[in-house]
């Protein structure tokens, strides 16, 4: 576990540098993302989450500092060939990834990545089938046009297109945005099971309940600066910090917090509804014994 998958060293990024519209999106970010972890990146809108994840996949190069991803060291001088190789290691599921679909059939679209990696047609098909199996798409849809699918199905096919490349680091930028609750759970469970199989997962999210439930590490960005690194439990007990970063605690935590204000005591700060239930049962039993 000791070796980090990604190391940010004093990273800064400015959009439209040296123009009238220059905008410092990230400043002086230093952090590590552990190998095999499920790390959540959170922050309010425009805080630089997508910028940070694009840096990990070399889609943007830092103006200052460097990013160590596996054996790659990305700086503003990194070359084209190095970046091409990097894309083999890192999979990036964009915000609204269904926008990237283009092929005639679902299967062809998922094969696109492996073919780009130089796999033979047979291998690519095999990798695509494995990926499609992971996302639980009915097999009779494989030769349909991706544009005939429902929104949620398109999302999953697009994710399969990234999974087919079998990346060691998987970035998902708000993968659940705009999906129904069941669709959201499916995708998060998928991320979780990939994480359990050893993939390093980096999840950008706006939903604290998801973060509390699935992430083992959290990075919090606020106006382009890293303001917190640590466990979700540690983060959500710091109300002051959350407020400063314009974030809300998870529902269960907020609920427990307001009960605590009424004089209740919790041994453990509940982060999820299950936690909360357990804690409440404990409390109620104690109450019962007093009477």
């Amino acid at each position: 576990m000791a070796q980090p998958a990604v190391v940010f060293k004093k990273v800064a990024y400015t959009y439209n540098a040296q123009t009238a519209f220059s905008f410092k999106a990230l400043q002086d970010i230093s952090a590590e993302i552990e190998k095999g972890s499920l790390t959540a990146i959170i922050g309010h809108t425009g805080s630089g989450k997508s910028t940070l994840t694009k840096l990990v996949d070399g889609l943007l190069l830092p103006d200052h500092g460097s990013i160590q991803v596996g054996n790659f060291n990305l700086t503003h001088e990194s070359g084209h060939d190095e970046l091409l190789k990097l894309h083999r290691e890192v999979g990036y599921v964009f915000q609204f990834p269904e926008k990237q679909l283009f092929s005639d059939t679902v299967l062809q679209d998922v094969e696109f990545g492996p073919l780009n990696l130089g796999k033979s047609a047979k291998e690519a098909k095999q990798m695509a089938l494995v990926a499609l199996d992971t996302i639980h798409l009915p097999a009779d849809l494989y030769d349909h046009s991706p544009f005939e699918l429902s929104g949620g199905q398109m999302r999953r096919v697009a994710i399969a297109g990234v999974l087919a490349m079998q990346p060691q680091i998987l970035i998902m930028d708000e993968p659940t945005a705009g999906l129904d609750p069941q669709g959201q759970t499916e995708i998060l469970e998928l991320a979780h099971s990939l994480h359990e199989q050893g993939t390093t997962v980096i999840l950008v999210s706006h939903q604290m309940d998801q973060v509390a439930r699935y992430a083992d590490t959290v990075l919090v960005l606020n106006h382009g600066q890293l303001v917190f690194t640590g466990t979700p439990r540690n983060l959500f007990s710091q109300l002051q910090l959350l407020k400063q970063a314009e974030l809300e605690p998870p529902l269960a935590t907020a609920f427990a917090q307001s009960m605590a204000d009424q004089g209740w005591h919790f041994d453990h700060l509940p982060l999820t509804v299950t936690d909360l239930g357990n804690e409440l049962v404990k409390q109620l039993q104690k109450e019962g014994q007093h009477e």
């Binding site: 439209n16 009238a20 894309h87 990036y92 964009f94 283009f102 990545g113 780009n116």
Partner: protein, 266 residues
Amino acid sequence: MNSKVFFGLYVPTNSILHRLDPRMKIIACFWYVVIVFLANNVLTNVLLGLFLLFLIWLSKVSLKMYWQGIKPLMWVILLTAAVQLFFSTGGQPIWQWHFLNITSLGIIQSIYLIFRFAFIITISTVLTVTTTTLQLAAGIESLLKPLSYLKVPVSQLAMMLSIALRFIPTIMDEIQTIMDAQRARGMDFSAGNLFQRAKRLVPVMIPLFVSSFKRADDLALAMEARGYQPGAPRTAYRQLRWHMNDNWAFLTYVVLTVALIVLRQI
């Protein structure tokens, strides 16, 4: 390539030029382009250049922004100037090699040509930097109004124009995102010969068309839902108003034109 630094994008500095009537600015821009061709000697070019600097100063937008506008077109300008330089005849020959020759007149004319280009690009940038696309479209609509008597659907054309202008930055952003997404899927846009490269546009163009059509569809629905009817008379929320400053601007242009004609004779 970045959409936010799109050639001559609006910069909100609320200068006196920003507050002029867009019709005045459109006419002024056109007129300037016309009189640029009247400039035939040093004095007239200096006059036009100084006037342009004056406008840039008035616009409160940094010179750097304007330079950004010219920079991408620099090669075109230099190439045209080089053609003018090597192939024009007249004046005293200075240098000759096969069919290439440089003459004194050629040098002078190619210098003028460079200025002409720079002036035209810069004046258009002054217009677009100080005028929002909505105002531009409103101004054009108002100026073309007389054509509606000839059954030209002016307001529909203006609506199409303003929608097109409005969505250029959005589409540029979209192209960037799609290219990034395909690059993340291992695609190499720069390798291979021309044919292979052209083929690689497919994974970018198809998603772009799909999303553009979808966007157009959504927009049409939203417009209909809000009662838009093509051809029906519409009123504008922001009425164009001709102010005193517009008169002054007009007068300035008259003076400039007269001065130019006078200096031409010298």
